[in-house]
Symmetry: D2
Subunit: 357 residues, 4 copies
């Protein structure tokens, strides 16, 4: 930390600040300048509480220099974290470009199977779908809960897809940890520190979505909560932030991808579905996410978006999702990423009758 003195600060005031710093157990390094004297503080292991210093006579301001995160930092670990899954060749964070796809919410076994069949055919290895849904209104569909988890478990067995699903509280986390391959923490819970601590003790990887108004530092500190409890398998996910810009539901902040990659070893995905909130924008922004260098995508797909119980506006039709995968596969190759091949495309607009369970 640096304490900047006022231009007219007296020698005595400077000395008093130095003494205060020393009394807190740190070392003070006064640097006289043409206009200001600044006093550098060293010897601190954590953050210096600046309250005591800011108020001293002659002090203009304090400037924080070092970053508060440790375990998530590339300084702590230089190589990228690559997350693997028992019994699967899929990885997140390595050379592979990962796609997680599926409906916003699990609505029924029939719906889940229809969509799982579609995303699997497109070459996807991770299936998403909410059993517990955070909804702005208490009167909206809140998810099928444990029934939803059971359907996800069936999808896993039947299609061999890895399951990503959200836990909203410590109770649901116990159940999600049991049945899912990746535990999702939603944007609204990014600073639900009790939930983060519990997820940090889980034996499954955690996908952490960026909060709606989280700075990069707060985002990384939320990941630090997870890692500080022992869970080193953390996947970050940008899903748009809240700004004045009103032509999309959120503003997708793609520059956070290279920013995270510079500061941290953790993988970072992009969710263009929540990031835009509009079906027609999902594919262009998915292409952009691949091009910017993200480690993968999280995309909402629904076989009948018009009937979806939540987020129908932003869910892709199966055929649109196939097209997205084709385009993203080409771009991923350019930025040096591999993607599993798609099964043979149906070549036809997806009909809703394909899956008969």
């Amino acid at each position: 930390m640096l304490v900047v003195m006022q231009p007219r600060a007296s020698e005595e005031q400077i000395r008093a600040v130095c003494q205060k710093i020393e009394s807190l157990g740190y070392r003070a390094h006064p640097i006289p300048g043409a206009k200001h004297t600044a006093i550098a503080i060293t010897g601190n292991t954590g953050e210096v509480e600046s309250g005591a210093l800011e108020e001293m006579p002659g002090v203009q301001e304090t400037v924080r220099v070092t970053k508060p995160y440790k375990l998530v930092s590339r300084i702590a670990k230089r190589e990228n974290t690559v997350i693997s899954f028992p019994g699967s060749i899929a990885t997140i964070g390595g050379s592979e470009f990962t796609v997680i796809a599926g409906p916003c919410a699990i609505e029924s076994r029939e719906q889940a199977f229809a969509i799982a069949e579609c995303v699997q055919r497109a070459g996807v290895q991770f299936f998403r779908g909410g059993a517990y849904k955070p909804r702005t209104s208490p009167y909206s569909f809140q998810g099928l809960g444990e029934d939803g988890l059971r359907i996800l478990a069936e999808v896993r067995r039947h299609f061999g897809l890895l399951i990503v699903t959200e836990a909203m509280d410590t109770e649901s986390l116990d159940l999600v940890e049991e049945c899912a391959d990746v535990i999702q923490i939603g944007a609204r819970n990014m600073q639900n520190f009790s939930l983060l601590k519990r997820a940090g003790r889980a034996r499954k990887p955690v996908l952490l979505k960026r909060g709606m108004s989280a700075t990069l530092e707060e985002f990384l500190m939320a990941a630090e909560y997870l890692m500080s409890e022992g869970n080193h398998n953390v996947i970050l996910c940008e899903r748009g932030v809240r700004t004045f810009s009103d032509h999309t539901r959120n503003t997708l902040d793609l520059a956070v991808v290279p920013a995270v990659q510079r500061l941290s070893h953790l993988p970072i995905l992009v969710d263009p579905s929540h990031g835009t909130g509009q079906r027609s924008k999902v594919t262009p922004l998915a292409r952009a996410a691949a091009a910017v260098g993200a480690d993968g995508l999280m995309v909402e797909v629904h076989h009948r978006p018009g009937q979806a119980l939540s987020d129908g506006m932003q869910s892709l039709y199966p055929q649109q999702f196939e097209d997205l995968m084709t385009q993203v596969r080409q771009i991923a190759a350019i930025v040096g990423r591999t993607m599993p091949a798609a099964a043979q495309s149906s070549g036809l607009p997806r009909t809703e009758a394909v899956v008969t369970l």
Copy 2:
């Protein structure tokens, strides 16, 4: 809801949209205009999922007309909600201007008692202090937990102050409900819907802080979660929102006070401590909050801010808090609010030796 057709939409397209609306169980009212035809939808009790309509040929966009909140609305209840407390004459939401004051976190019995003594002398009836602290860093002081609650219970008995303290999860809510008079839900948990549902079943009033990037509608919908579970004693609290503006920690959005008062019957307080994050701005913004017509304030006070374990930068010194109360009392009177008188002021800068426990 209103479906706006494209200027060149055909008769057939308009008819198809009307049929779709009717098939969903609503009534369609086409309104031909000079440029566009718009189709009004009536007969819906909840929100219409617009996904099915947005995608139809010829549709330009859908415009939502009615608001999603019910119980929090002034349409549901015209008179202001006034919250009273058993065994106390204090109220929130009536003609009284309520002040809740105390430290950010409970650090020790001695600290809590010293501050409680100071705020009580200034005429305050509600004592705040966190036993469970949501901190951005896992390495920061996280609060004393149950020990903190025990100290708060002692403050309550010893000073007769009503206690406001935060619950961070369902576990701590059980304990907070037991020992506090008002259960606080913090800004980071405003959309922690599991916690809201649990607090909605609590038998104590809930003080709900606005999320950092919550729109007014989302803020009211979070209150709707509480009320929909049966808890009608909800107190809203504006504490600053996150914007590009970097001269304060948050941007205090005082216009939300008249906006809430127009739409809802619930009381709304203002927290200028978190709203600014800077000691020197707290008193001016506290005056502004009283002037704008808020139902009260939530303010951080510390007898030794330089030693505070959290938020020392924004905590007032006891003497500053006395001055704040004096100024706020005058403004409250102008806007037609009463405040309990202060005990006789010490007339002296507060020394730290006053409280000897």
Copy 3:
């Protein structure tokens, strides 16, 4: 400026950075810390261009320490700037709480006189009204131009009111400088540097509105442009900033008032009309602006808001404005400000027939 080295930076890298700094003509002060070495730069008179340093091997980041503004700063001038007007007792920035009121746009002589009569009766000394109107749409009413200025000149003569009106470009500035007492620079032109330079050479005070997304530093730097050209009579005006918050047209950032007052000697007013965009919020926020310690208000009043050619939604009715003045006068007294007395109130709802020209 401070150059923070990476934790693993070598001695050689640190030495190279120091040499680079010296080669730029500054002095380098390395400060070894437990984790990082930081290098303080002194000897610079202006801002150091950090591009050359950021890219050097071993450098983590650069941290700017000193502020770029000079003339607007309280360090340059300790006492508040008080602006006076030839032939008037009115001042801005002194102990008086200044109110500037009038219509958004001058629409006709009749309209201007009707409103001028009303605001004068309420005790106002400054009349506002746009002759040149910046409008989002080229198809909206753009102001009466020179005819509007002539009407303002008549208002000045007839009522003895001081005139505040906006200049949109260097051409209109010539004319406005001639006929007005205060030249207004609108929010959209806050960083129209050509206009600022021209206004900086004007012989009349300039009222500078904060840009919609201007940081405090940018706001002060825009004022620095005016002062650097020789115009020391600058009045700042907060008028709301653009955020995600959608319940008002802008988010009024009242904390900027004490922030400006700490850093600068210039007076700062608040415009609650543009700051909220809604008639029902203007009076509460005007009270708040007085309470927070602003030097005055800028308010839109219209005798027939329903017929206004622009901003009718946010214009007060004459009776509402009288009430605002009454309330603001009481609050101003509490924060130690004086205001001229109102002429005797009509006691009646303002009728539109009062002014017959």
Copy 4:
């Protein structure tokens, strides 16, 4: 426009609103709903001023339905606008992916020629460089002015590059119109309506940068100003918006690209240099811009960024720019865009001695 009545509005109030609408010359269409009555307004050619209606008894709110832009809209012109240049095969807005590159500011003939040579070799047809620089501080380098324009004219002659440079006011616009191929209007002037009107009468295409806090509607309305004065050759440019997100200088809002393309026929470029403000983020975001479907890029390049007089931090080194072009060329091909081939790459890190004039 739609007027939404309060749930308890009386028949009489509804009738009065309808009569008011008719008296304004429009037609009123009441639509009774279960909870509210809404009244649709038709027959208006422009925007209805809602002030008169919002205030009537029983009215809850008004909802605007139609968009205010006309000439920029795809409804007015279905096919994409393709801008061509006399004596050049270059186009903007067609199948070609356009790159505009060069330094932030023209600093000297030598600097301009060195950079022009580099960007031309990379296959670029448009050279950018500021002669007039809008700078936050009056003490920063403000551009070479007319000398800069003369250097640009030389670059044009010598390299056959088309010139893009900024006009800051009507005076400089006269000169820029003379010597440049594209007149740039900067972000800070996006709502400088006097300048827009003048540029709308220019005989050269205008590149309009999005304002820092401009909504999409405001951005399009600024273009409407240009077109309404007769200039139909308008190029839009996204350059990042201002948000709370602090890891980049601005937040690049790439979703605006498909949003513009849906609503308007005008071409839209992306400026990743200002959009991020950090050299290391420029290439990833340039790739993303190509992938999202933009019509081109505007990029800052400098042969000696460490010595740049402005924006050195965000300027690419020549070799970095060559790499960017290589990557962008591959992505452009995937999204169906062509780009002129690069001259043979030097294959070596660019040395500063290459250009000896």
